[in-house]
Amino acid sequence: MKEIFAAAANELRNFARERNIAAEFTFHRGVSKLVRFANSGVSANTNEDTFSLDVDVTIGRAKGSFSITTSPKDIDGMKIALLRAAEIAKFAVPVSFERKIPILPERLPDDSNFDQRIESMTTADALDLVGQATDDLLSDGLSLAGMVSSGAIYEARANTLNNNLLYHAGTDANMELVITNDKEKWEIQSSQSAVRFSQFAPEELREEFALLLEQYKNKERMSVPVGEYEVVFGRDAIANLMNYFGWIGFNGRSLKHDMSFLREDDIGKQVFSPLLTVVDDPSFSDTYPYAFDASGIERQAFPLIREGVFQNFFWDKETVEEFGGEPTGHDVPSMSIAIGSGNTPVNALSDLLAAPREKDILYIPYLHYMGIVNAAKGIVTGSTRFGALYLKKDGSIAVPYNMRFTASLKDLFSNIKWISQRRAALNLTNLYGRRHPEAMLTPRFTCIEKVPITLANTSF
């Protein structure tokens, strides 16, 4: 694909230069396959191959953008896109700050996380993985739902300032399965993210499902009394919570727009539990990292929270152009967030169930449909879903109906009691629009005290 992008970039650059147009080009091709399961069958088996080109034309401080979704061979269409972006830029009103097209450095192709085996995954591969992950488990009114999603992206950036081309390609895959009991209306879930096909270990999913099913089939169901609880969050739940930091916490743009619960004077302060360390680190290959950002800035480990002390906001190019400062290499479709591991040897669900407990605790593996109640205070709300457990002090286990919690992120991450030793990547790729894989490295379990449960359902 690199050669096709390079040839198109050459032609477009020349076409632009002949007309004195200062332009930036972003090429994207996404090849996607998704096998979806519902009611124990394949409910959708989809394939997508979409190519698009974004053109940004800058005239002084004014910018015009045009995107075209077409065939990668449609050079004429791309030239029209360039002319239309130039036309828009002519009429666009200049902004109050300096806008600069970046001088793209020479960089080696960033395609080391590309696995041919994932790129060519078939329906049969998906059926095989799912078969192994649920082998012998789907009886007694249980059904299978979920998906196996796989694909590849090919991206390139170029502009009229020089002849360099930044190229990025990668593959990604995610198996996210749900076992449902249609009669009782409960569901349990487990997932696995992969950069390489060989990373899939369906037997691990099976083991977790088997253990959860034992609880869900046999244990007492209950509505948990509303109040404060010690909660052990699973990796999906903790990733979901940490994801809000990228939006209303660490993000310099949100800070400047009064939409961040972290402030400039929080830098260097002990804002969170000393057990919490968070870094954006592209050296973790499981996070679908970018080696450089859209301006060609080399991405390096970027500390966000160190032992509870807030370290840094990250800054994108446009925010820096407007408010000053230095860009931090964060003009990327996805970051490589990693939450530091702890030293508690609770690394599998079986460990958690077997661990002695001083009080009643909740296990919440997954949060559904979170909402920001108040961005400036970092207050979020969400409901539990998929496999929560009520682990009682006396050693017994019950299955709680879904609950809602409403809490501030600052409070939650200040009250960490312990973190597992083991971490794994959790796939966060959203499957709307253009393919852009994303994953976060999260501890297996994170125990947080004083979590306010504000509503508890009285049935499934």
Binding site: S32, L34, F37, A38, N39, G41, V42, S43, A44, N45, T46, N47, E48, D49, T50, F51, S52, G64, S65, F66, S67, T69, S71, P72, R84, A85, I88, F91, A92, V93, V95, S96, T123, S143, A145, M147, S149, D182, E187, Q189, H257, D258, M259, H368, Y369, G371, V373, N374, A375, A376, S383, R385, N402, R404, T406, L431, Y432, T454, L455, N457
Partner: protein
């Protein structure tokens, strides 16, 4: 029929039939343009146009679906055959073969959104000047951030299937919004928003923005309301009557009526992502969803709304379906596939025919059940003033700030932008950070007042998300002011 590609597509469909497809359809976007503008502090920050071209092919073979899409028509064979192959491979893992309910063939049907002035015919300069004039109205010392957004689409979609259908839809949509943000007495941000609403009997071109009543005049109102919120006390923690204006009533309807009544959710097709529904097949015709005052329709025959589109992606003409009558559940949002399965599972005919709710966001996705216009029918309880007068202890709320809903839509939590406390039939003051939450059925059963038609607004939704691979959808909600009793607020 002006596309040179149509004979090629017909040819491919015929070949699919020969190769063992039971049914196939293709959606071909030969013209698909969109434009978006974004202003921050009166500055044009984003100015983008987009042009798309491509097709999506859906094949039913051996009882299973396969789907393939491409942004290139260079290798039609490959795309059509990939869809067929995917169906056959999917059929190897199937509990119940899919079959489609019968419907009449679409014979050369043409649908066009009502639009007087195509937004794409308006010069960019005029658009920018218009939004700058709106921004002027938002400029006040206490307004820290001013946001304006605009998005329009104009697309032509050809639909062909192996049953001989052909139809083409020319769809124009226009969305515009304004938002002001200020810091309250505690230094925390508060916001007030207005999004362009439609006249369900009118048109939806640039003419809407030229009419000050539709957009510009709301600028002053939201700025004044923001100013009041900034110094207002915090919403109390209490249980009282909640009076919802259309700016939040639409979302209340969307989240726990619309989504809960999508038949694919009820049948378990979204359990691994968007979620299920507390509604069961045996509930149709029986379940008391709300009080006697609750009447809900899925009306895709409204002349002017993104939830009206001529025919759905099953090729079934749009309809007006009664979902809830006098509080009792009647029907759902349905498609050719799901009604067959639901009737079979229930062992009786619940759904006579498809309600034409099967839609895809664009050619890259297969269709799934989506809302059309999910409307609360107006009631007999007068105007907002009348409803306030008859309220002992309540709170009026407006503006959707956050929403979070249980996975089976059985409970919810909403945060709004502004609240007005009501005591003994009169408004006594404004509060900030108003929130309310409740289990779903007790909430609708406590519906104690429904405003008349003069209180109704048609609110557009541009970003309803669902499905894997995921898709956003555009739709509408025509809703009046409504009151609900004994609701938890301030959590």
């Amino acid at each position: 029929m002006n596309s040179v590609y149509l004979p090629l597509l017909r040819d491919q469909l015929a070949r699919l039939k020969e190769s063992g497809a039971d049914y196939a359809d293709v959606r071909f976007h030969d013209y698909d343009e969109s434009e978006s503008l974004f202003f921050l502090q009166g500055e044009l920050r984003g100015c983008e146009q987009n042009s798309k071209f491509g097709l999506g092919v859906r094949v039913l073979a051996d009882g299973a679906w396969g789907f393939a899409s491409a942004s290139s028509l260079g290798d039609l064979d490959a795309t059509f055959q990939r869809a067929l192959r995917s169906a056959k491979e999917a059929a190897k893992c199937l509990e119940r073969p899919i079959s489609l309910a019968p419907r009449d063939v679409l014979e050369n049907v043409r649908f066009k959104s009502p639009c007087k002035v195509d937004p794409f015919d308006i010069p960019l300069k005029e658009k920018i000047e218009f939004f700058k004039s709106v921004d002027e109205k938002l400029r006040k010392d206490f307004v820290k951030q001013r946001f304006l957004s605009y998005e329009s689409e104009h697309r032509q979609i050809h639909f062909l299937d192996t049953e001989g259908s052909y139809g083409v839809r020319e769809i124009v949509d226009i969305f515009a919004g304004m938002r002001v943000v200020g810091l309250d007495v505690d230094g925390l941000s508060q916001e007030r928003t207005y999004n362009l609403t439609l006249d369900p009997r009118g048109t939806r071109g640039w003419e809407l923005l030229r009419d000050p009543k539709c957009f510009l005049d709301h600028a002053e109102r939201i700025v004044n309301e923001l100013e009041s919120v900034l110094s207002a006390p915090v919403c109390p923690k209490d249980v009282r009557s909640v009076i919802l204006k259309p700016g939040i009533m639409f979302l209340q309807t969307h989240e726990v009526v619309g989504h809960a009544l999508e038949l694919d959710r009820i049948l378990g097709y979204e359990l691994s992502f968007a979620g299920g529904s507390f509604v069961r097949l045996q509930d149709f015709g029986n379940l008391r969803y709300g009080s006697d005052k609750m009447n809900v329709a899925a009306d895709a025959t409204l002349p002017n709304s993104p939830g009206s589109f001529g025919f759905d992606d099953d090729g079934v003409p749009c309809q007006n379906v009664t979902l809830i009558k006098n509080g009792i559940l009647q029907s759902a949002l349905t498609s050719r596939q799901t009604i067959t399965e639901a009737n079979e599972k229930a062992g009786m005919i619940i759904f006579e025919k498809s309600g034409a709710s099967n839609r895809a966001t664009d050619f890259t996705r297969p269709p799934i059940e989506r809302m059309t216009n999910i409307n609360i029918l107006p009631g007999t309880d007068g105007t907002l003033e009348d409803i306030v007068k008859s309220t002992k202890k309540g709170i009026i709320m407006d503006g959707d700030r956050s929403w979070s809903i249980g996975s089976n839509r059985e409970q919810f939590h909403f945060a709004c932008e502004i609240g007005w406390l009501v005591e003994d039939g009169a408004i006594t003051g404004i509060v900030r950070n108003p929130t309310y939450s409740s289990p779903t059925l007790p909430f609708w059963r406590s519906m104690s007042a429904v405003g008349n038609a003069s209180t109704c607004e048609l609110v557009q939704v541009a970003n309803c998300g669902k499905g894997l691979p995921s898709q956003v959808m555009r739709l509408g909600h025509c809703v009046p002011v409504c009151r609900f009793d004994n609701v938890q607020i301030g959590l």
